[in-house]
């Protein structure tokens, strides 16, 4: 796995995405232990706090659980996520179809998606701070 610090996405989000993808595609099974913060940080050459934040986000999303003293484990019930993801695919497909019908190309679509997500993210962050 190669994390790219200079792409627009923060490192911890890249890590979260990668781990989520690995879990959903079955590379990491439910109940397995994820590498420790230290090992993950040393392997990827990133700050341990980034790993901590990624693990925290995964815990908030209900994908992993932190067992004190033992480490970070993938929840057994995570396979349920795969179903949700399957449902999401047709939604995305139809949205992209509709945007393409407006004569927008790939880059336009991606830019619009990212700015929309960014706006939501900022709003969420403001809500958390308030």
């Amino acid at each position: 796995m190669r994390l790219n610090p200079s792409s627009g996405t923060p490192l911890y989000i890249q890590l979260v995405d990668h781990l989520k993808h690995a879990i959903e595609s079955g590379v990491i099974r439910g109940g397995e232990q994820l590498p420790s913060v230290r090992k993950m940080a040393e392997d990827l050459l990133i700050n341990p706090n980034t790993v901590v934040r990624a693990y925290h986000d995964l815990e908030t999303d209900g994908i992993v659980e932190l067992r004190h003293g033992s480490g970070v484990f993938v929840r057994e019930s995570v396979s349920g996520r795969a179903e949700v993801m399957k449902k999401a695919v047709p939604i995305i497909r139809s949205a992209v179809d509709r945007l393409e019908s407006l004569d927008l190309d790939e880059n336009d679509i991606r830019r619009l998606m990212e700015s929309e997500l960014a706006v939501r993210r900022t709003a969420q962050a403001r809500k958390r701070r308030a």
Binding site: L3, P5, S6, G8, P10, L11, V37, R38, A41, E42, L45, I46, N47, P48, N49, R111, E114, S115, A118, A125
Partner: protein
Amino acid sequence: MREPVAVVTQLSRQFGANLALNDVTLAVPRGCVFGLVGENGAGKSTLIKHLLGLWRAESGSVRVFGRDPVTDPAGVLGRIGYLSEQPDLPGWMRVDELLRYTQAFYPRWDPAYASQLIEQFGLSRDARVRTLSKGQRARLGLIAAEAHRPELLILDEPSSGLDPIVRRDILEAIIRTVTDEGRTVLFSSHLLDEVERVSDHLALLHRGVLRLCAPLEEVKARHRRLVLHFAVTRTNPPDVPGAIQVYGAGREWTVVCDMARTHAPSMAHHLGASLVDDSPASLEEIFVGYSDATAAAPGSHMRVVT
């Protein structure tokens, strides 16, 4: 909040006609990776040498572990590991002689850890330092700085001129240091992607002035790149408050700005342009933006007190 490892208060330093440091105030929190960036001649090495006591504070004060490194070198330096850009190790010494020599000064030296690092880096114990390549010398200097597990590891442009494998070793050492409870790393670098990967805090020096000093996340969150499309062709760049860099031509102008001082949609509306893109600025753009500014006014930098 635990006490910061190093506190620099209103430090100024002049070399002849050149003002190397201009009223710099910063604090290095304990347990973090503190990245110091700046162009060549911005004052990074000067600041680091003040922390080590190699330069005396002409005006202002420097405290490391609560003590002045100039009046108490033995107390402060015993807890610091230092790797300079070109480690001036004596050429006639052999690798294990150098490590034995360094070991005598630091009671917390871990011989097993040092041996493990020597194996890992592939250094030959009997080789003389002058026969080692630049990368091997950097690795040797890293072992000498790291093996006593210092509370504060200072690296002054450690990766300059080194191949990617040695740079990897240095980054690994930085991460290993900071995962140990309470140990801190301060390093200065030109390689911004390295700084982005491993830093918690970022400080940016430009011509001796501290333009930026904040946690890295905040820096990246608060600086965005906005692309504006104007209806009318402009010959002059648009005046955007809080902008650190503006470039473009004709109808399309790109502005990198500090979002704490700008609200994007209202600003675009005010200028009579449409906001086409709003994405996070890369560290390189932030660096160039703060380093390119012709006015080095101390008040215009962003400071966050932790």
